[in-house]
Symmetry: C2
Subunit: 185 residues, 2 copies
């Protein structure tokens, strides 16, 4: 049953940008599939984002509560933010952490680059572990409303278990930091 | 510095559907933020999807390699698929697992509902653990091209470590199944 298909690539034959907004561009491409048949792909292009895992000296994580309009609910999530045009992801992470939470970290460790939504978006998420944290003053962007709080890693795992944390970028990060703390990463 | 803001809700004042395709609808809403200022939210509505963690009796996972056009690359990922109109997520998961991989599972366990892309999509991902697997014949949808293979959980963890698995729905699932096997979930 296992089918070995060497080449699964789909080739673009046309591209149409059907919407261009401040955040998202939406495209509809005609493609040729590996079997030679035609199909249509609808997708979003996105500038990419950083996700910061701010781990305090006492072992707690710096979390945020934010309203996420597409789902009309508040989410408990780790700090994150869009990468600016030509912005270096690490500098973006440092900027976002300070803006959103007021923390500066002396120690930054790149963890991974993941893809949140491969079916219909080209977004990448660049993950960093931030440690040796010192609190300054938060200076959120105009229009950025959030609540900052701290949470033990064990409690974050429990919040995933009971469905209180459902943001996938945060779920993988929490599992990750648990492995880091255990020395498994 | 921790700011306690009780209400972070953004209220819709207008909605415009700027694109309606076969997969995606794209909306641009004007909203009122908690401070009374106006803003614009661009987002996608999506029917939701299921993610299946098919765990074989020998401890291996059933994986897929698929080309994901928005990123123009192949991804190693767990079976997943869009929920049909009025379709029960569990029935969707059973259908997708059989269609894509040829496996039927006698035992299904709901794990969680996560959100992959809270910044600009209302998509939900409903996760199931599928065990007691028996191989039938795969019957992929017309136009669905994929390679099915099996992978040990330890190897999947290693593929995450080295950046060979970067699909976030799969990353959180692999960390999860490792916890399930360890009896931590």
């Amino acid at each position: 049953m296992t089918k070995i298909i060497q080449n699964l690539t789909e080739e673009q034959i046309s591209n149409q940008c059907v919407f261009s907004g401040d955040l998202l561009q939406v495209h509809v491409d005609n493609v040729v599939m590996p079997d030679g048949k035609l199909s249509v792909r609808e997708y979003v292009t996105h500038p990419g984002a950083v996700v910061i895992i701010p781990l305090l000296d006492n072992g707690n994580l710096v979390f945020e509560r934010q309203h996420r309009y597409p789902l009309h609910q508040d989410f408990y999530e780790l700090p994150a933010g869009k990468i600016g045009l030509d912005e270096e992801p690490l500098l973006c992470a440092q900027r976002e952490l300070l803006e959103e939470t007021g923390y500066i970290a002396s120690n930054w460790r790149y963890l991974a680059t993941l893809h949140p939504c491969i079916g219909y978006s080209n977004e990448k998420l660049v993950y960093y572990l931030a440690t040796e944290l010192n609190l300054q003053d938060a200076c959120p962007d105009d229009g950025e409303h959030l609540e900052v709080f701290t949470l033990a890693v064990t409690e974050a795992i429990e919040w995933i278990r009971v469905g209180k944390i459902t943001d996938n970028k945060t779920v993988s990060a929490v599992f990750w930091v648990e492995k880091l703390i255990r020395g498994e990463w």
